[in-house]
């Protein structure tokens, strides 16, 4: 049971971190684009 819970936990953690990292990078690029174009 513990291995199954760990596998689901690790999957959620890794996917969550990857999505968070991508989202933060995208937000930064959008902000930089806005600052550059002044819009």
């Amino acid at each position: 049971m513990i291995y199954t819970l760990l596998a689901y936990g690790v999957s959620a953690l890794l996917l969550g971190l990857a999505l968070l990292h991508s989202w933060l990078d995208l937000r930064r690029q959008r902000r930089l684009a806005r600052e550059k174009t002044g819009r």
Binding site: W23, Q29, R30
Partner: protein, 238 residues
Amino acid sequence: MSNAAARDFYAFARPGRAIAAAAAASPFFALAALFLLASGLYLAVLAPAEWEQGVAVKIMFVHVPAAWNAMMIYALLAFASALFFITRAPIWDAIAAAAAPAGAVFTLLALATGALWGRPVWGSWWVWDARLTSVLILFFIYLGYAALRRAIANPRRRAHAASLLALAGAVNLPVVKFSVDWWQTLHQPASIIRLSGPAIGADFLAPLVLFLLAYCACFALLFSMRLEAELRRRFIAR
């Protein structure tokens, strides 16, 4: 329009549309991923325990789709790299650059959940059999690809070298897929994608398919966000 301006226009006209498309698609992929993950998890909880493995069999639902995605994403990476190599259109390099990190994540996911499945079922976190080793090599290829992209500052040289590495690494893809047929492995042979049909019951197949679709939606979301960021980075850097 001067020659240089025309070249810039044609080089980035399509990426401009790609930015808009990726930005519009991301919320839909996020909703689809949430819905599919929730339904997959619900069916995974309802799925029966297996007589030999117990509840450890449910690790299959997060392990197998991760491994499939790792391979499908590498196929996309190699395809985009081949098209970049032929056409030299920057959009294909951006697509390859956006896909690679997601591929590395799914490969790591397959390796980690595989170790957590191997411990209770095989009695070992890791064995050096052909399937596990070839997937580990796939992970190192993804890492090497990311390192190469970071190591070269010149965008043209970076795109050229990265596409070559991605194409060379594609040799490993059939090795991963057929390793269980070509060599004696502790890892089981294919039991879902077979000419004679899947060898597992509907109770297990339904959550497996839902998790596969959920992981595909997660990849689509990761890819669309990374592609938009990558294209914006290229616009700003100019």
